[in-house]
Every structure is written in C-alpha cells, then in structure tokens.
C-alpha cells in the first residue's frame, strides 16, 4: 500500500514538473510585441474594414483593434515575427490611408476596449 502511494506521489510530482516546464517554454515562445499605428483618414466605420483585413493578414497578428476617434490601430504579434516600420507603412498606404507615427512596445497599449 505504502509503495503504491509513494509511486503515485512521485508520478504526480513528475507530471507537475513537466507541466511547469512546458508552460515556461510556451511563455518564452509567445512573447509579444505590441504595435500602435496612428492612421490619418479613418473617417468612417465602413472604411476601416479594409484596413482591419490587411492588418489581420500580418503573420501572427492578434487583437487587431481600430479606434476611429483616436485614429489608431493597435495589434500584437509574436516578438520573432515583428514587421518592420516600413512594412507597416506600406500596409496602411495600400489600404488607402496615411500612416503617421508607429510605436512598438513590450506592453499592451491602453484602448477604449480596456475601459469597458
């Protein structure tokens, strides 16, 4: 009986250790870069649809969020797939808008979505 309990305990500890290790690895590989793009010309909700579709096509892009009043688009990408500023400017221009300042950050940008 004691042997069974001991064996089960060791197995549980090993499983937990494996789980912890996996999570640590995942945390490392999913490290994100957050991007904020100031976009001029975002004057109607229907217009923003094309920009959103183009930003969602960027490899690994997530949480694409467009704020019309602020004239901003925010998103996140895996750190190792971060697009260059030039690439982002071209995407915005191709969508029919004028790109302004582009900011990269290790932490998420505050959006109106977060205030709700």
């Amino acid at each position: 009986m004691k042997t069974t309990i001991k064996t089960t305990g060791i197995t549980l500890i090993m499983l937990l250790a494996a789980l912890f290790t996996t999570n640590t690895v995942n945390a490392q590989t999913t490290e994100k870069t957050y991007i904020k793009i100031e976009v001029d010309g975002l004057s109607c909700p229907f217009c923003a649809y094309g920009l959103e579709k183009k930003l969602k096509k960027i490899a690994g892009s997530k949480d694409v969020f467009i704020q019309l009043e602020e004239g901003e688009a925010t998103m996140s990408v895996p750190k190792d797939q971060k697009p260059t500023e030039e690439e982002l400017r071209k995407i915005v221009k191709d969508a029919g808008f004028t790109p302004k300042e582009i900011t990269f950050s290790k932490t998420p940008f505050k959006t109106k979505k977060d205030d709700k």
Binding site: G41, C44, P45, E52, L68, E69, T98
Partner: protein, 258 residues
C-alpha cells in the same frame, strides 16, 4: 417616357449606390475603401411611385487595384410593376465601371477625396416586353465625385455626363448630399445616419430639368450589412402633363458578401 424614367432609376439610383461603401444613399461616394482586393456586393432596392413599383437587385463585383483604382461589373435582376399593366421581371441592363482616385488629403478622423468615374451601360435588359426591362441604349457616363468625410458629418458632390444612344437624350447628372451620424461612430459599426440631398438630372437634348430633394435614414449594423430608407420629392419637374411624380420611396439593403 418610360425609358427616360428608366435612365433616372437605373443610372441615378442603382449604379452608384451599389458601389458606395456606406453613406450617402442617393449620391456616389469618393471613398473606394473597404475592400481588400475584390468582393461581391448586392444592393436590393424597392422603389415606389404613384404609377409603378420597381424592385432592383443588382450584384456588383468590384476589384481594387491598390487603393486608388477600382474596376467592376454589375448585373441586375429587375421587377417592374406598373399600376395599369402586368408586371415584368428579368435581367436588366448590365454595366461595367472604373473609378480612379485623383486627390486625397487625410487628417485625423477626416478625409477629402476626389475620384473620376466611368460607367458603361450595356443594353442587356429585355425590350420586347411592356414595360421594358432595359433601356435599349448604350450609355457611357463620365463623372467626378468629391467628398469631405469626417466622424461628425459628410458632404458629398457628384457631376456626371451620360452619353446615350438609340434616340435617348444625353443627360447631365448632378447630386449633392449631407450625411449626419446620430450615434457616435465606432468600429465595428453600429450606426444610424441621417441623409439629406439634391439629385438632379438635366436632359440636355430636350432641355428638360428634373431635380429631386431627398431625405433618408441609414442603419449600419456590423461590418457587412446596412439598411436604408428614403424618400425623394421633385422640386423641379419638366415632364408632360399627367406624368408628374409626387414622390419616390425607396427601401434597400447593402450586403458585402465577402
């Protein structure tokens, strides 16, 4: 006369309305955005006059080459239901179009744009029925569309010359619109817009001018669907006695299929 009414309804209302990506209801928009390459749009419109009811269901396939150049084709199903005659249904006149953006000035949450547009209407609608479903006329329309659009309001203007064949008079189209959003604009949209405008059609060869004042409401729900309704009332109408229009009521929906 029915053919002239046909020009007004098909050319003025349906062609540019199906391509507009949001407001306004009765005037074209200079904004070519909202597509990522191509798409399919449909725009159902129910038009009611004293002497007839017309239902138009065009399907448009626009394609954007970059952000400044758009081409496309439009085919339409049409049902004409005059009060004094049996109704007719079928394929109406088809059209192809090209739009090119000439000017763009962007600011924060606002833009001013001007485009040139070319529409070519093909006489594919049946004309051996009464009422005819097509105009039996090749029509080439060259025009300019401009607009200042901000989150607070939009002002749009359009002028186009329509060259026709087969005995129809050429016509000069002139439209203007003011659009005012009643709800704060956000994305994804949930928007209600008020539209007011003027829609003119001057038949150059017969020196006949028709000017309508229009008013309408749009409800944009989500990224792909909007509903709109409006009424147009003539303020100048050069037509023979007994053929005057008191009002044109429309109800429509625009859907971006993909």
């Amino acid at each position: 006369m029915y053919r002239i009414i046909g020009i007004t309804i098909i050319t003025l209302l349906s062609l540019h309305a199906v391509m507009a990506q949001g407001p306004p209801i009765y005037t074209d928009s200079p904004i070519l955005l909202g597509l990522d390459g191509g798409g399919i749009r449909t725009f159902g419109k129910y038009i009611s006059k004293e002497n007839a009811k017309v239902y138009v269901q065009p399907v448009a396939v626009p394609y954007n080459f970059g952000s400044k150049f758009q081409v496309g084709a439009i085919a339409m199903f049409i049902n004409k239901n005059p009060n004094a005659m049996p109704s007719q249904s079928g394929i109406g006149d088809a059209a192809a179009f090209a739009k090119y953006q000439l000017f763009q000035k962007d600011g924060k949450a606002k833009t001013f744009r001007v485009i040139a547009k070319l529409n070519q209407v093909f006489p594919t609608g049946k004309t051996d029925v009464n009422p005819a479903l097509g105009n039996d006329s090749w029509q080439s329309q060259l025009g300019l569309v401009g607009g200042y659009v901000s989150l607070k309001y939009g002002i749009y203007g359009e002028v186009a010359y329509n060259v026709t064949s087969n005995g129809l008079p050429d016509n000069l189209i002139y439209n203007a619109a003011f659009v005012y959003p009643l709800l704060p604009q956000k994305y994804p949209p949930n928007q209600i817009n008020l539209n007011v405008g003027l829609n003119g059609n001057f038949l150059t060869e017969v020196n006949s001018n028709n000017l309508l004042i229009s008013s309408g409401v749009q409800w944009i729900m989500g990224k792909r669907v909007l509903f709109e309704t409006g009424v147009q009332i003539p303020i100048i109408e050069d037509v023979p006695n007994g053929q005057e229009t008191n009002f044109i009521f429309t109800f429509g929906t625009r859907i971006l299929i993909f």
